[in-house]
Symmetry: C2
Amino acid sequence: MLNHQWQLAARPKGHIQVSDFNWTTQELPSLEEGQVLIRNIYLSLDPANRGWIAEGGSYMAPVELGTVMPGICIGVVEDSRNEKFPQGTLVQAMIGWQEYMISDGRGLTAVPRIPGVPLEAFFTVLGHIGLTAYFGLLEIGQPKPGETICVSGAAGAVGSLVGQIGKLKGCRVVGIAGSDEKCQWLTETLGFDAAVNYKTENVRSALKAACPKGIDVIFENVGGAILDAELSLINQNARIALCGLISQYNAKELVPGPYMFGNILVKRARVEGFIVSDFIPRAMEAIPELAQWFLAGKLHYKVDIVEGLDQAPVAINKLFDGSNEGKLIVRISPEPAA
Amino acid sequence: MLNHQWQLAARPKGHIQVSDFNWTTQELPSLEEGQVLIRNIYLSLDPANRGWIAEGGSYMAPVELGTVMPGICIGVVEDSRNEKFPQGTLVQAMIGWQEYMISDGRGLTAVPRIPGVPLEAFFTVLGHIGLTAYFGLLEIGQPKPGETICVSGAAGAVGSLVGQIGKLKGCRVVGIAGSDEKCQWLTETLGFDAAVNYKTENVRSALKAACPKGIDVIFENVGGAILDAELSLINQNARIALCGLISQYNAKELVPGPYMFGNILVKRARVEGFIVSDFIPRAMEAIPELAQWFLAGKLHYKVDIVEGLDQAPVAINKLFDGSNEGKLIVRISPEPAA
């Protein structure tokens, strides 16, 4: 039985190129006792992936050249010699950019079938994206009812949930996104109080108008000029939850930090970086509330599904040019019948 | 009776010039019921003063042109019609850059005479400087025994206390200062584990050698390239207590934030600005411990006393070129006999 996988061939300079990967074929061995064969169904593409393959790495040592590109996936156990994961079990795991994986069960999380919950929800509201939004906003941002939250990358997978959770917690929520359509979705469907189109508006003036009482919490996904506009409007004791800096992930040279850095001092603000993996042990503090909101129709999301594993190296760039419409997912093979 | 005072004449462009102030003379009225006449003895010059007169202000509205330049001072009550502050009482107050002040008692803090404690100690270890070091390091920096603390502006009034408190709390302490003499004072007199001369050494390599286990707490007084060198060496969950950014207070244009800003995200670090005035209500949590350490000979400081109020506009620049040797104080008039 054959497996196809994308192996990292070169560290990208700037934007990711297809030539940074090799499309390879392997013959899969037969299963040993304790192992399972997983067919990959969905691959999550996330901004953090860019850091994993950067020179020097980011959170962890960089992915080695000549190995499979990692990625969070949902798959199905097609063959099993492990009683914990019988055939037909849906699992979430770091399968990576490949069609199949043989696993001894470590690092697999069973995904439950819940009526009314599509599988893709485990990549958004009920997965790493939901936990990022939940813990980043509530634990790091510490918003209080009536405060103003500003979210950059607001139409993205994380940002759109952050804003909705902020509204559920009684805050004023202002989002920054890259098109009028996205801004309209934020205010009309998701209930944001205001949205700023950073491609057509002067971000600082538009934000100032949208945040008449200043900004108490920034949920930052972008960095650069957008972060500067936000920082210029922070209130005393503001909290900045630093989730991502997508504007600089493809930079070929060192990028300066925010010009308004001094305002962190003057306003006695707190900037705190966080990573969802640090909160995984506490996932069950969040999942019940997220699930309850989702099943009650209070949390919306969009998915942008790209067909075919062969498209992964091209599709990932949609995250960086902002052309994705919702959570970016590659469909590698069909979902099994429920 | 005549008073002389320095009034702000212009907002400095870059470094402070004598011409930014006017030397003026006033006839003092006689005291009304409830008032006291205070003769100014010592004026504290602090980096934060620069922000008070900047366009747009910093923590507060900027000092108005044509008014006395503010400053923290110690004076003595020479005449009193207020029973709370009888003649001879030593007081700390925002007297400013002038010889005398008439006060109704609001904003005055009586300074006790303690055997073995010179008056100037109330500008260092037992005053706003000591509280800045104590709360900034312990509350914002949250150092744990065995962790590595890096202090910039380490030979300054605040930095030198921060390092000594860090040692008393069982940490490894590394300081950054601007001369070999200062570095020698840090390691030989104050007990710092290592010191880096930023004017003669490559700060990043020297810091890396001095912090073999990385940096857990940064106490930042400087900013710019020094902060970047420190940020490049932070450990996971590092805390950065942002006390000052003296390298940019005289900048005529916006200065970029740290190029290593992204490391705050990757290392899940926390950057928090703070201002000692926010901790004044909690001063009595700190003063007993600071006094105990000081009287036991465990906290050393230096003072750099400039003679004469006329020198204030020149002397303040010593803070920015690093030529001050210890806490910068202007002696305006003689201390009364104890």
